[in-house]
């Protein structure tokens, strides 16, 4: 039976500096699941950064995985820019949702002001980061995506329509969203020091289920690239990038974002993007994370999940710069705990170095 020879911090630390850890690290992309497994209301998890941190810390302890607490959600941008969100207290809810978008008419775009940090959800995020840093863990904060945030500011269907009908308005909001994420990154770096920070980015609105690669190139890439370059120039050395849902066709743009940029990326594409392709494109310089199909954790029995994890280890473990086992998107909050355990079990059984 495998016995851990490293702590989570040592394991991830080894990977980040290009050394071989004792086994494949596990980052289960846990957010709302932590609340469920602690008996905490999902709404409270997102409404209160202190409760959010506590639930994640307990879930870490319960399972023994390597992910540290962080705060973020896909509806980022709406609250920060003056709209309204609703915390997930209702049946079937899984994360905050937008109930009033900051922009409803074209005239609202010019009235949109870039908020001073910490704005909206970042007031909770900072609580999580403070508690994490006190325990020697990194301050992990959200830097996008500017495109998904713009969708939350405009309302996604309106944004899709305006991409064709009023692209200039979309660009105006994208510029403001990028500015906001840069200002927020500067704030967190000032609070904690760049060496203690990890930035995470990603969003589903720019997936190829929504827009073409060409549209990604015109509307998403410039702003993601701008934010990343700035964040890295502040001295933040690690970016965890989650191109959510199927973004396989956008890969060449992500290659451009990466080219010539310093630091190290942890890439967590959706399950639609084969691990082999990610390794081919990014494996020389960056860590690959993933890529187990997330709904499987909720819908499949333990034995099948374990085998899925094993398959992913066999593929991902070939990445020259290192590999982290995890799902291809957020762990379903309702996943049976034994299926989250399957990740750790697989890493110990099949991921020893």
């Amino acid at each position: 039976m495998f016995v851990n020879k490293m702590t989570p911090a040592e394991r991830i630390g080894a990977l980040l500096i290009g050394q071989t850890p004792d086994r494949v690290p596990v980052m289960p992309f846990v957010l709302g699941y932590a609340a469920k497994v602690c008996g905490m209301n999902l709404g409270d998890f997102y409404a209160d950064g202190d409760k959010c941190f506590r639930a994640q810390l307990l879930a870490m302890d319960l399972h023994g995985y390597d992910q540290t607490p962080f705060y973020g959600y896909a509806a980022i941008g709406a609250w920060e820019f003056g709209g309204k969100i609703e915390f997930p207290y209702g049946p079937g809810h899984s994360a905050p949702i937008v109930i009033k978008h900051p922009v409803e008419e074209p005239e609202d775009v010019d009235k949109l002001e870039v908020p001073e940090p910490p704005a909206g959800s970042y007031k909770e995020s900072i609580k999580v980061c403070r508690s994490a840093v006190k325990l020697g863990m990194p301050a992990i904060f959200q830097i996008g995506s500017a495109f998904t945030a713009t969708g939350n500011i405009l309302e996604p269907a309106r944004m899709m329509l305006w991409l064709r009908r009023q692209p200039d308005l979309v660009h105006k909001v994208l510029r403001k969203a990028a500015e906001f994420f840069i200002a927020s990154a500067e704030y967190f770096v000032k609070q904690f020091g760049a060496e203690r920070c990890i930035a995470f980015d990603g969003g589903p609105t720019e997936s190829n289920k929504m827009i073409s690669a060409k549209q990604f190139g015109e509307f998403a890439f410039p702003y993601i690239n701008q934010v990343h370059r700035k964040v890295l120039s502040l001295g933040v050395n690690v970016i965890l990038d989650h191109p959510c849902a199927d973004q396989t066709k956008n890969i060449s743009y992500y290659e451009q974002i990466r080219a010539g940029a310093p630091g190290i990326y942890i890439w967590n594409f959706g399950p639609e993007t084969p691990l082999e392709l990610q390794i081919e494109k990014f494996g020389k310089r960056d860590i690959i994370m993933g890529n187990v199909d997330p709904p499987s954790f909720q819908n499949k029995p333990y034995e099948e999940v374990l085998m899925l994890c094993k398959e992913n280890i066999e593929k991902g473990g070939k990445n020259p710069r290192g590999y982290i086992l995890g799902p291809g998107c957020e762990m379903p909050p309702l996943a049976p705990p034994v299926n989250v355990h399957a990740l750790i079990k697989a890493a110990k059984e099949y991921g020893r170095y």
Binding site: G32, G92, S94, L163, R164, P295, Q298
Partner: protein, 228 residues
């Protein structure tokens, strides 16, 4: 209905155009997402005496079917489809007031919605658009729809199909309850499900009669369920 004055004005400005040309313009304006041309073509169709149902099915819907193919092939994406939808609905708003009810043939009636707890409705709206273009009578319940609302509406309307959408793993779990309740109530409706966390195997596990991974496929599934 157009006033006699407006009809007269249109007739005076109206370049004589064949029925085929007008239907072609309706379709093309939908494909190109050109709202103004679609509205003009719809009015031209009325002035030319083209049956409104034929103009919808052989013009607007034909155009939307092309859009659906382009979307399925990965040549059109959501922005293009939404623009096409804008045009199609603008044309329909004009033509539907001239519909003679007895001429309308529909493959069936579908109740559609995004399940409770979920507000992601772009996928559902694309499915609704393509089902409408295919001639289905679509009753849209919107988003964050309680299970009881699905059941009551299906029973009330004697719908042929209950179509449920979910994007979240936390919201999809109500689908088997809705399916069970419909069976318990003796509803004749078939059920179909869709959305990112769904799959063929999950749909089968839930007891659904059909599943589609995308909007274009949803029309084929629906047609199959009503045996059209």
């Amino acid at each position: 209905m157009m006033s006699k004055r407006n009809i007269y004005m249109c007739a005076h400005n109206f370049d004589a155009m064949s029925k085929e040309e007008i239907l072609e313009r309706l379709a093309k304006s939908v494909i190109e997402g050109d709202v103004e041309t679609c509205k003009k073509a719809a009015n031209d169709a009325i002035v030319a005496g083209i049956d409104a149902y034929e103009a919808i099915m052989q013009g607007l819907a034909k155009g939307m079917n092309v859009v659906s193919d382009l979307y399925e092939k990965g040549e059109y994406f959501v922005p293009e489809v939404i623009c096409s939808a804008e045009a199609m609905y603008a044309g329909m708003d004009i033509l539907k007031t001239y519909l003679k009810t007895e001429k309308v043939k529909s493959p069936g009636k579908i109740v559609i919605g995004v399940v409770q707890g979920d507000i992601h409705d772009i996928g559902k709206n694309l499915v609704k658009l393509m089902l409408t273009a295919a001639g289905f009578d679509v009753i849209d319940l919107g988003r964050d729809v309680a299970p009881s609302t699905f059941v009551e509406k299906v029973v009330e309307t004697n719908a042929d199909i209950c179509a449920m959408s979910a994007l979240m793993t936390t919201s999809m779990i109500v689908m088997p309850d809705i399916i069970k309740e419909l069976k318990k109530r003796g509803a004749r409706a078939k059920t179909m499900v869709g959305g990112a966390p769904l799959s063929d195997s999950v749909a089968e596990m839930y007891g659904a009669d059909g599943y589609s991974k995308d909007a274009a496929g949803a029309v084929r599934v629906a047609m199959n369920l009503v045996k059209w």
